[in-house]
Amino acid sequence: MPASSADSLKPSAFIPVCTAASLLVGSTSLFFVFTCPWLAVTICPAVPPCCAILFLFVLANFTMATFMDAGVLPVAKGDEDKDDDFRAPLYKNVHVKGVQVRMKWCTSCHFYRPPRCSHCSVCDHCVEDFDHHCPWVNNCIGRRNYRYFFLFLLSLTFHMISVFTFGLIYILHYRDDLWKLHCTVTLVVISISGLFLIPVLGLTGFHLYLVSRGRTTNEQVTGKFQGGRNPFTRGCCDNLEYLVCSPISPKYTARPYKKTVIHVQPPFLRPVIDRQIPVKRTSTGAVEPSDIKQVKTPPPLPPKPDHGLLKHKLAAMNEMGHHTKSINPVSIPTVPQLRPVLEAISRGSSPIPPEQLLKMSEQQGNNKGPDLCSEFKESPVGGSEQGGLSVQPSLQTNSSLQLNSMTLNSRSLTLKQGIISSSIRVASHSSSKFSYDSIINTVDPQFLAQRGPPQASYRFMTLSTDGTVVQRPPPHTYNPVFRGANRQPPQPSLQGLTSRDPSSSFQGFSQRDHSPPFPRLMPRDLASQSITSQDLTPPVLARRDMTCQSVRDSLRDLGPQGLTPHMSAAACYDNFSKTMMASVHKRQEMEERDRMLHLQARSQMLYGPDVGIYDIPSRRSLPPDNIQPPACRGPTPPAYGSREFLMSTGIHGYGTRTSPLSSSSTLSLTRGPKTSSSPLQSSSSSLQGKDRPSSPTYHPSERQPQLLLSSTSTLPRIPSSSTSYTPPMPPIPLQSDPRSHSPLRGRTLGALK
């Protein structure tokens, strides 16, 4: 704040200090010139020297009070501020000698003000043991210069008393010659000193009282310890002793910076601790400490909607291929952020305005996975990408929940952001119902990727998502999630999300984690992956694995009870009422259809540029056009079990190939118990129709839907407020989508294109 910082430098700020200085010096000089000679002769020759010494003392203290640093605390560098300012609590409580003292966050200086510290608005800095800002010295009075200020007051009082007294004696002696120069001058001097003696005396007495009570002016004026006990007092005598005899505390600002030279050379020693979790394996270095802290933080259930965040993410998604850094690393897992959506859905209102969803659906083709992927990539300070590379081996080798601390850090960030972005994307496509479908979709590939084979399928899915809209089937419920993932790669999650209750999707998510269908999904993924694995480049894989890992880790963090990562997020929402789940379940079919339509549209759009990449599998059939609702939000999503469907699922989760992180994260997220994708797919397939023709690779997945259907049916549905985007979804038509039909595929592709 340049304005406020310049307040003490403004010309007007110097008026009081100049006045005080001129009055002091001038009056005393006149006194010495006109009065002291007579005093030395008449009363005592020691009077003038004593007065002179006293005056010198006054001047010295005045100078120290004016020019000495009061104990200014330097502004904290940004690295101290781990949380965003707006998320940091305004007050922090500490116990000082048994008394609770509040430390307030200083927005200007970026730290929690220590006890007794206050921010001077005139000087625009925090001062330790802040007393007040004195205009007469144009300086803050704080820890370092309070002593000088007090002594100045004390000495000035004595000086003024002495000047007044001696001047009076002089005048009384020369009362007959009052109009002579020397008398007039002395008269003026004693009138000035007499006039200013009263306030100065009052101020001195006030500060004597403060010192005896151990308070600062600031505390006295604000009444901090009026009623309670002052923890900073040491007793009257000790307070005076502290005032006068304590060592001068050092200046914090503008210190001579002594450069230290230390040779740092790896390898670094490590304490001998049995570590289960490989730590610090990413190239981002020791990111893990703070990240682990992030990871370990249980997800608080957010009570308030985070519309801003959703909109923010939507906007981010709207940018094609942009590395939107809009997603800030959130220490709060995705679940909290999705909670407003859930709440909104449960209330029957759409958290995302339909217009936004419309816009999103229109931009589906443009918003490939890259949006999600970019978000994933960008959100973790670039570290996740590197970490992903290093993580990939771990992913391949680890079974499910191997926690890499480094990956945890970046992953959790990635996952959360990916979830958010995927959710947003889904929500944008659906009728603004923010659900876990997107999360599940996005997570799915990651979970898939966690295992060796799953990674392939994950890649497949991510690859398929390249150039396709990152549209995962809105995982509103257990079923829809998988359904969407399986069958509707490009289907805008909007469809699925529209009628889905996020809570149900969460629940479905959790259920999915536990459900056997997960493994069932795997075969299909495996089949798909065999086809697509060759398509992916290692870096992409690495990134996706990273995303998967991050998503997985984020999910892990989401679980408050320490459930498996993929389950953790859902576990938070297991508390949603069963009625909600039931209502969600009801809407699954409807949203299925919507989703498929959107997916198809998106896949068409997304497939356009990258169709060649995905033109490998034979079963790239997309859902038939009849799936598309009359509202026609988008092209028909690919047929269930088709490659396009799987790819579109990946698209939902990950966007383009530029977002491997997001893909992987979503995979891992949905994977949870390593079967996330399968339940996702199976549920989607079950919901959309079990008789979807599919290539042999998808047959197992077809069976899974049936199982999933039973599981999903158990999910209570939340009466979601269907939006205009929720056309009735005929399950049968979906099922009848010729997934493996080449003609359909071509048609679908064409539609997509």
Partner: protein, 168 residues
């Protein structure tokens, strides 16, 4: 050999991927300068608890010594008053002397204990005595050190990469 050394503070500033861990002030005894001896979890696998607690306790004792109200502080005050505080221009206060001792101690600790573990302890005075910060050195920083040195002790980037991998 001196050329092989680098100003770690400069490197620290240039390293972009370092993590900072902070130990906050302990205000339970009032506004006297004390730092919490609670072990930060972030350093759990970087350094032994005892070492860190020892360092913080030593720092706390230094600060207690600096802020002690006793004979030396009396004399200092009287002398300052008597000379109209001109003495401050010539002489260093007791607190400043202890601060120099503290920075020497921190430097020694960094060299002996923390740098081998990839940590860097910063003097609290740089942050207004509010926190004791540990800079957890990242792999990137290590690599940069290696590359800069380029002589015997430094290994080529590849080896530093491998060492990085092993170190991590």
């Amino acid at each position: 050999m001196a050329t092989e050394f680098h100003n770690l503070q400069e490197l620290r500033h240039s390293a972009s991927l370092e993590t900072k861990v902070f130990i906050q002030r302990d205000y339970t005894e009032g506004t006297v300068c004390r730092f919490q001896t609670k072990f930060p979890s972030e350093l759990d696998n970087r350094i032994e608890r005892t070492l860190l607690e020892e360092t913080v306790k030593t720092l706390n004792s230094y600060y207690v010594e600096a802020e002690k109200i006793g004979g030396q502080s009396y004399l200092e005050g009287c002398l300052a008053c008597a000379t109209a505080y001109i003495i401050f221009l010539c002489m260093e206060t007791r607190y400043e002397k202890v601060l120099r001792k503290i920075s020497g101690y921190i430097q020694e600790q960094n060299e002996k204990i923390y740098a081998p573990r990839g940590l860097l302890l910063t003097d609290p005075i740089e942050r207004g005595m509010r926190v004791v910060s540990f800079t957890v050195l990242s792999v990137q920083l290590e690599i940069s050190i290696f590359e800069d040195q380029g002589s015997g002790t430094s290994s080529p980037s590849s080896s530093s990469m491998s060492s990085t991998g092993s170190a991590r």
